[in-house]
Symmetry: C2
Subunit: 277 residues, 2 copies
DNA sequence: AACTCTGTTTCTCTATTTGCAACAACAGCA
DNA sequence: TGCTGTTGTTGCAAATAGAGAAACAGAGTT
């Protein structure tokens, strides 16, 4: 089984930001003999998991990996329930909606419904971002206990990504406290300049935070007043989604969704509901 | 290396329609000993490629497979160029846009930009469909020579999926001829009842068909007249995309009349050589 | 045309996988 | 409750399949 383990070590390298890797790069990165790496890659290539550029001989992720990976999203009940909700958000707001989860120590964009406005595709599905630099990440981090948070930070230093990235622990703690109280998180250019993002928590069984529902907005179109209605939309959607996923209640958003059985049917009208201050 | 090969055989089973598989099912399907399967799966589980339900002990695709697979789409230049084009199509038509390629003998939806209208998510990204029952598939099949087509059909019988699926070879041939001449393909409920789809070819280097750009429309909203403007939109988008991908010309959908992307043309800047040095 | 850098293949030795069967966990059933 | 037929996970000696160095092949470069 050691063979498979090393093979998966190699495969893991491809999940990084590097688009393609050469045999030599992999060999040095894994401290494996070139011959072994070459043979392993040949198998992956034969199965279509990796593809090899015939001229540069470099390897990159293949189409079968894509096929396989997409069945994850297809089978994920959260993604399934979220699709129509995210569509409505993208349609009524004009901006792209995202659904993110915590995978290990990174924020993973599970799915996205693109709005009509063009923005940099960097945040697209499958992208992994630093939790402390994204709105979705802060929402997901907010569910951690103080000790869990400390442990997280010890594993993952708060590296600066843009000028406005939060890099100090007290500052992060304060922000998370705010997120917990308000039920949403807003970041403006913390992981990518010119990009604002809003996220709210999605709850699951036992009312644990299982995901973050969010929106990505070009910063120059970000408007304080309008953001309140966006947050309301997100809260509406997240409530519906949370209920479907087995939460007993959704505490955020000033809506009339008092009872768990009051299905979020008539949640269409766009009155400006007040966000908790 | 045999270990990795059998391990990938197992992994391949998960790319099917079955959501989860048990050790026994895998063992019988691959004619492998249960013990071997169990140990292999344990490694996959440790790496997060597969996940095991703690109660049912059944395995399903894990999140790391998703992460890995999504870098394929992220690195794919076709998908990259297609995103803004598909957004515009989805935005102006109100229906979802799709980009599909031929992967082995199946049509694979590489990406999708969801329109505001809700439709069954079955055609979502990563889904694999039978070429003879989809508009995108017919577009992609149209590039095959008669012998290649015959070979394809011998490998893949024209199975009936809905009442209107094409199942006879002469009929398929005639349709492909029509697709070649007209430069688009329309299917109505051939792979899923109640769903109409339109697709046009995307060309690449050497003017070979490399992908199909398409739209999915609820059948009851399909309108013959309106479909002409949809096809025009698709042709416009596919032309832009084809040029970007290195095609020398795009023979379909004349650019007569007012071009919807006149702005793009007008915005084209002469980035000539700067100061003569 | 020789050089160099990278990837692939060859060949022997031994560490690893193998497969049977016992073991453990669990559901169905009387 | 206890029995029984599943199903998934581990021990252990035999044997196969992988490890590693170095030779080989190919492409780009000077």
């Amino acid at each position: 089984m050691k063979t498979l383990a090393t093979a998966l070590d190699i495969l893991g390298l491809f999940a990084s930001d590097k688009e393609s890797l050469s045999v030599g790069e992999i060999a040095t990165a894994t401290r494996l003999a070139k011959s072994k790496v070459s043979r392993l890659l040949a198998i992956y290539r034969a199965y279509g998991i990796l593809e090899q550029d015939p001229v540069s001989r470099r390897y990159k992720v293949g189409i079968r990996a894509f096929e396989l990976g997409s069945v994850f999203a297809k089978n994920d009940p959260l993604a399934h329930d979220a699709l129509p909700i995210m569509r409505r958000i993208a349609d009524t707001s004009g901006h792209s909606a995202t659904l993110s989860i915590m995978a290990g120590d990174v924020v993973l964009h599970l799915m996205a419904v693109e709005g009509p406005l063009y923005i940099d595709g960097r945040w697209r599905v499958g992208n992994r971002l630093a939790p402390h630099a994204t709105s979705a990440g802060k929402v997901l981090l907010a569910s951690l206990s103080p000790t869990e948070l400390a442990s997280f930070v010890s594993r993952n230093p708060l590296t600066r990504i843009t000028a406005s990235t939060v890099t100090s622990m007290p500052r992060l703690r304060a922000q998370l406290e705010q997120v917990r109280a308000a039920g949403f998180s807003i970041t403006r250019g913390e992981s990518a300049p010119g990009l604002a993002a809003i996220a709210v928590p999605v709850l699951g069984r036992g009312d644990r935070i299982v995901a973050a529902l969010g929106m990505v907005v070009p910063d120059h179109l970000f408007d304080e007043d309008e953001s309140l209605s966006w947050i309301a939309k997100l809260h509406d959607g997240a409530r519906t989604l949370s209920m479907k996923r087995g939460a007993s209640a959704y505490p955020y958003g000033g809506m009339r969704g008092r009872s768990p059985h009051a299905s979020a049917r008539g949640a269409q009208q766009r009155g400006r509901s007040r966000a908790p201050a």
